[in-house]
């Protein structure tokens, strides 16, 4: 069995950012990961001199190669040669270098044949389940030279292994050999005795001879440089406290990419107050937005009345009345200025066209109904709509012109009034827009009615999410502290809360608080409450939320290449674990490798794992080290790298059932209860 990595970059090209080759790091990589052979495959180039340096430094087989832009889809493919005539290979590769100088340039299979001659002498591995893939026409043109394809993860490797239509998968690091190289366990095992192109190709023609671990065919994947294996399905990791379980999981995470890691206590709520909100965000439902929608109409009401001051209106009316009375008193004293009609002229009332504008917009919408056109067409003739649109717009223009003219006249009248008023000894009756003042009074009255209705508790939205119900409701603010908390400011609200029952007064006090954004004052009239209810209709407990969180976390892991779960049993009851959690874990493990650390028999045994890992901390001459034993769930023994073994049954009973004695005792107790 040989462990190989045929996709290593050592030279910068137009697709890479600049990096310096670190030969020592490359050597460390091959040693740490126990590689038997590697290939140097740079983008569209082969550097003979550098290749010689590398082969000189490394003690393992190094094959010369190149990563080509192959075919019209600009997919990438590795082309690897034996290291018998390297000068010839270098010469041929220099022609590729001339052809492919940018992303958009590529070589066709015909060009490849023309340059390299008989392609069967080379190993060609196109990107298969990997970006950018070689297009299907080019794969066809490769014919019998296409036997293996490169994939990006163990998960995809396993998928290709099981799928009869897929080529033999190969998993490589595709890394840059530089000083900060973070090693991964992306290598492939080949069941061959000698590393040469002929024997590799022979091996690749039989999928069963290609694997991700040195043993047990395609069911196991090597996930750490130290040789820890896991199942391509479900692996359970057992061990005592501080025996290295979390250490092992961390190591697996370090050497694998695209890992979903649900850590121990990740699911326990740190802050119950914000947990409900986080919980909602987790399932992608922004409750804030819903509250916003509910209050949107009210916000326009507040916006409309925010600048109304009944006190100022009262003052204006007062001034008007007293000036009117005074003018009446002085009627006999009128002079030539005050006798002019314009001296006491009132302005034109200017009305807006909001209603008409809304109508025009509605008709425009009807004229552009999109997919609903057949329905609108059935009921309203397009021509009528068009002519309605024209009439409405013309009416609007007329109204606008009238408004503008009235405004113009008002300005002129006001100027003349001022001129006459300055010259006259008579009292000029003050202008007052009684219409506006009456309207303001009415608006405030309505506003107070609306606030009264708004503050009546009600349910706004109810939604079912899995076994829970998300409920959004309104309630009154109960005290000044609640207002303060809501504002997220160090601001006193006792003055405001004192008049909370008088909306207009309340708004006045809020307006006076300069720290509050004027446009957000509407939010202080009613509190939007979010509740997550369980199946019995009562707010969920922290434990129930954690259950939900776990299910969602695990569900989301289907996209990952590996799922690690550290002790899911913390804070869950066994019924939940044996039911929903186990089912979800099993579903994921059908397509994604899963490793679960557990002490709980409900998870560990009932979930029926494929593979068992057992960690043990050993202190030899004062130095602590971790031993990892492994074996299939059905094996009698679990075996460590050094050949030591432990009984699978003993370990399972000890760590999942607290030992054989306790297990027997519990069984006896259950029997007694039953009898």
């Amino acid at each position: 069995m040989k462990k190989v990595d045929f996709h290593i970059h050592t030279q910068k090209s137009f697709v890479d950012s600049a990096f310096e080759l670190d030969v020592a790091k490359l050597k460390e990589y091959t040693e740490k990961l126990g590689l038997d052979a590697i290939a140097i495959t740079n983008h569209n180039l082969f550097d003979l001199q550098q290749f010689r340096t590398i082969t000189h430094e490394l003690d393992i087989i190094v094959l010369p190669g190149i990563e080509l832009n192959l075919g019209k889809g600009h997919g990438h493919a590795l082309m690897i040669s034996d290291n018998t005539d390297i000068e010839d290979f270098a010469l041929k590769c220099s022609r590729i270098f001339e052809i492919c100088k940018t992303h958009d340039e590529y070589v066709s299979v015909a060009q490849l044949q023309e340059i390299y001659g008989d392609l069967s002498k080379y190993l060609i591995i196109p990107h298969y389940d990997k970006h950018p893939p070689v297009d299907s026409d080019t794969l066809k043109e490769l014919g019998s030279n296409f036997i293996a394809g490169e994939v990006t993860s163990a998960k995809k490797f396993m998928y290709a292994q099981k799928n009869a239509d897929s080529p033999t998968p190969m998993l490589f690091s595709d890394s840059r050999a530089k000083s900060d190289w973070a090693f991964t366990t992306r290598q492939t095992f080949l069941d061959i005795d000698e590393v040469n192109i002929a024997s590799i190709k022979m091996c690749l023609s039989d999928k069963s001879k290609v694997s991700l671990s040195a043993e047990d065919g395609n069911e196991l994947i090597q996930v750490t440089p130290s040789g820890v294996l896991i199942s391509s399905g479900l692996t359970v990791l057992l061990g005592g406290r501080s025996s290295g379980k979390s250490y092992t999981l961390d190591e697996i995470e370090n050497y694998t990419s695209n890992v979903k890691y649900i850590r121990q206590f990740d699911l326990i709520e740190q802050n119950p107050e914000t947990a409900a909100k986080e919980f909602n965000e987790r399932v992608g439902q922004k409750q804030d937005a819903d509250g916003e929608v509910y209050l949107r109409k009210f916000s326009t009401v507040v916006e409309d009345v925010r600048n109304i001051s009944l006190e100022s209106d009262d003052f204006k009316v007062g001034t008007f009345v007293s000036s009117l009375l005074k003018a009446a008193d002085e009627a006999k004293l009128q002079d030539e200025y005050s006798k002019a009609i314009l001296f006491s002229e009132t302005p034109f009332q200017i009305l807006d066209s909001e209603k008409l504008k809304n109508l025009i917009e509605a008709v425009t919408e009807l004229l552009n109904p999109g997919v609903y056109e057949p329905i609108t067409d059935k009921h309203i003739e397009k021509e009528s709509l068009k002519s309605l649109h024209t009439d409405l717009v013309e009416t609007l223009w007329r109204e606008q012109l009238d408004r503008k003219k009235s405004g113009w006249v008002n300005t002129v009248v006001s100027d003349i009034k001022f001129g006459l008023g300055s010259s006259s000894a008579a009292t000029q009756v003050k202008d007052v827009d009684l219409w506006e003042i009456a309207k303001n009074k009415k608006k405030i009255q309505k506003f107070e009615e609306i606030v009264g209705l708004l503050q009546q508790p009600r349910i706004i939205v109810e939604r079912d999410v899995q076994q829970f119900k998300i409920q959004e409701s309104t309630k009154k603010f109960m005290n000044a502290q609640e207002l303060k908390d809501f504002s997220h400011r160090t601001l006193a609200f006792s003055d405001a809360y004192a008049v909370y029952g008088k909306p207009y007064e309340y708004l006045k006090v809020l307006k006076a608080k300069e720290e509050l954004e004027p446009a957000s004052l509407y939010k202080y009239f009613v509190k939007i409450k979010y509740d997550i209810l369980n199946r019995y209709g009562v707010p969920v407990s922290g434990g129930e939320r954690a259950e939900f969180k776990l299910i969602n976390e695990i569900d989301g892991a289907a996209e990952s290449d590996l799922l690690l779960i550290d002790e899911p049993e913390s804070s869950f009851d066994n019924l939940f674990l044996s039911g929903e959690v186990n089912q979800v874990i099993k579903n994921i493990a059908a397509n994604t490798p899963v490793v679960v650390v557990t002490h709980n028999s409900t998870v560990g045994a009932s979930v029926k794992p494929n593979y068992i890992l057992y960690t043990e901390r050993k202190i030899i001459e004062g130095v602590a080290s971790y031993a990892v034993y492994s074996g299939f769930a059905t094996s009698k023994t679990l075996i460590a790298k050094n050949g030591d073994s432990v009984s699978n049954n003993d370990i399972t009973l000890k760590y999942l059932e607290a030992g054989k004695d306790k297990y027997d005792e519990r069984n006896r107790m259950y029997e007694m209860l039953e009898n």
Partner: protein, 104 residues
């Protein structure tokens, strides 16, 4: 048609070019009528200018000079004054307006 004229030291206005009233009798509605006349493209509206202090009545003078100055300004910008009010929804209007069929 002459809407503003000076007569015997007093300002006068007319809404028909025939009968004239003293300018201190003008109200906002009458001013609006004159505005409408100014804005009519085909109507030529004229105003006498108070050159050299012909108007001796001070109240009349205040009203007359302000109206004269404003009317002249409006007369000068009347096209823009009207056009500005027909900008809103102009493109949609052009798109949906059904062309009138000219009768033979």
């Amino acid at each position: 048609m002459k809407c503003l004229r000076i007569n015997s030291g007093k300002g006068e206005y007319s809404l028909d070019g025939v009968t004239y009233e003293e300018i201190n009798k003008i109200d906002k509605e009458s001013i609006l009528v004159i505005v409408d006349m100014i804005l009519q493209p085909e109507l030529q509206v004229e105003f006498d200018k108070d050159t050299g202090g012909q108007i001796t009545n001070q109240a009349h003078k205040i009203i007359y000079t302000k109206l004269y100055e404003k009317f002249i300004d409006l007369e000068r910008n009347k096209q823009q004054f009207v056009e500005e009010t027909t900008e809103l929804y102009r493109s949609a209007y052009e798109k949906y307006k059904i062309p009138e069929v000219e009768s033979a």
